[in-house]
Symmetry: C2
Subunit: 323 residues, 2 copies
DNA sequence: TCAAAAGTGTTATCCTTACACCCATGT
DNA sequence: ACATGGGTGTAAGGATAACACTTTTGA
């Protein structure tokens, strides 16, 4: 194809998994400790693509099985990360690509084998959880955001920064969108609030005040991959019945609502959510009634596979509740 | 990170571009001839990732500039293809990944430099163009599809095949969805109707009747990459203002409608489309009036950048017209 | 008895869809 | 005159959001 292979370069490809489950009211991701240059950091399960892997997905499943003992169900490819400066950990000049995957599983918080642990993803993104109202960090983030906008000299650059910050964080009358997780992370990375941005010691060290605004860092660029996964998942529950991959086979309306709220990081309006789910035909009642829910016993529900055939976009197109 | 690099394998990464533009009423993709094993096939512009490329996207832009003389505007990553049997052209056992990108450009049909050519993408997917009603091929495809369903022994496999075929091709009362381009291609690949599926000489040669049902093949797995691009683009015009990347700076309502119809492969309802676009605030009128449209002169429109800030999902959420 | 959850009913409002109809130009 | 595209009005139906209210359990 190409007569000048002079510069052609072999690269190593890492397969990286964001494995998500729900435990109680926490959205969890499976991580394992990895020794960084200064401290032990949390890393996503991952391993290099090998010749024996017939497909990329098969390679991912093999690595995850080896490292976590888990056999994955639902898996989808997210994105391929390959920028040269994205992972200061590998500073040896060689090229490492990461192909990120999103996996959904029912495995509970207890069942993390080997050295792996389930972690609430909001520990890494404290500004993303609006279930108890606007998160406290977010108010404190507004000041550095506005400072960053003002730091550009007036004109195109200033306008562009103002727009980006407004859109991503819902400033100046813009509404907060649960789906802009990656936009927000990348903006905070650019500003230098996120610890990973300062690893290459290019950016100035954060003031102690700013350091408190950041969530928990992760190894390499895994936090960016996690942000990509959350973005994809939050978008996808709205037009595909993916929540059910995270639910037990049977559940109640409220449990389903809580699951969606957990992922989306918002509170939903109870009555309307029930009606939405019911009339979409996504679930059907079993004969059972579940007691001990803390109130009146609830009808037990199960997912209706057939719904996929009937609706063009069978998801939970919720809107956050006003309250 | 991993103590046993025994099997670690270096791979070559190809950056592949699906460059789309609209010429008249044709959705076009930029291709260049490539010598296959038997014949000259159309290939997407592509080249290997090199050390000098700081980012994947930069590498892609460099290769496209070198091969086509085009400097790309809008670019987004699509998917990374890495299955071992996906590209029978490279049969030497080495691993080649392809990272596919979608690029949108205003360049017209005339301006294809070097050995490149603009091609109507429906030549490769004749079943995807419903602008003049149900495409003729589709009626003929129904028979082999049903034969494939019936070929499975009754039970889970048969049911699954029936569902897949129904969903993808709108059989048995299911509605045709313009977004299932990749599903349809992959199903036809699996059945063996698509020529690429028979390259490895695993599948039986098609009967002359079946060969006529297939669209034009492409080099390697480029047709699959193109199908991925069309799928993404058809989905995206509905919630992001990406059509405007393909439009001239100013245009009329009908031109905009034709552009969307060209991409989506469906006819739209005129009055409702106008209202939809107008009330979304996606466009604004210039002072000019355009004559010579074939009827009454039309108001000239331009895209409103600000619309992106105001709407959460500023796209053209059209539905196909009944007629 | 009371809090918490389950569940029903109703209304105002908005958006979509479809239909009907008039306007201005080129041939 | 008439075909073609440009452009407005409006009414029916469905989906949504917000509200109020009843029922059933466990502590």
């Amino acid at each position: 194809m190409n007569q000048a292979p002079a510069q052609e370069q072999a690269v190593v490809v890492d397969l990286t998994a964001v494995i998500v489950s729900i435990a109680g009211d926490q959205p969890c991701v499976l991580v394992r400790p990895r020794q960084g240059r200064k401290a032990v950091l949390e890393a996503l399960p991952s391993g290099p693509l090998e010749l024996r892997h017939r497909t990329l997905e098969a390679g991912l499943r093999a690595w995850v099985a080896a490292q976590t003992g888990t056999s994955l169900g639902y898996v989808e490819q997210l994105y391929t990360f390959g920028d040269q400066d994205r992972a200061p950990d590998h500073g040896d000049g060689s090229r490492v690509l990461s192909i990120g995957y999103l996996a959904l599983t029912r495995a509970g918080k207890d069942s993390a084998p080997g050295e792996t642990v389930w972690r609430d993803w909001y520990r890494h993104f404290p500004w993303e959880d609006w279930r108890r109202g606007q998160p406290a960090v977010l108010r404190d983030l507004e000041k550095p955001l506005r400072r960053w906008v003002a730091a550009a000299k007036a004109g195109a650059e200033r306008t562009s920064r103002k727009e980006r910050a407004g859109l991503a964080f819902g400033l100046d009358g813009a509404t907060w969108s649960d789906e802009r997780v990656l936009d927000r992370y990348e903006l905070l990375y650019e500003i230098g609030i996120v610890a990973e941005a300062r690893r290459g010691s290019r950016a100035p060290a954060a003031s102690p005040a700013e350091a408190k605004l950041d969530g928990l860092p992760m190894a390499a660029d895994h936090r960016r991959i996690l942000a990509t996964a959350i973005t994809r998942l939050r978008a996808k529950i709205k037009y595909r019945p993916v929540v059910f991959e995270l639910m037990p086979p049977t559940f109640t309306f409220l449990q389903l609502q809580r699951a969606v709220e957990t992922l989306a990081g918002v509170r939903l309006h109870k009555q309307n959510f029930r009606r939405l789910v019911a009339q979409q035909g996504l679930v059907e009642e079993t004969d059972a009634i579940i007691a001990g829910t803390g109130g009146r016993p609830a009808r037990e529900l199960r997912f209706r596979q057939e719904a996929i055939l009937e609706r063009p976009a069978p998801g939970l197109r919720f809107r956050p509740s006003a309250a």
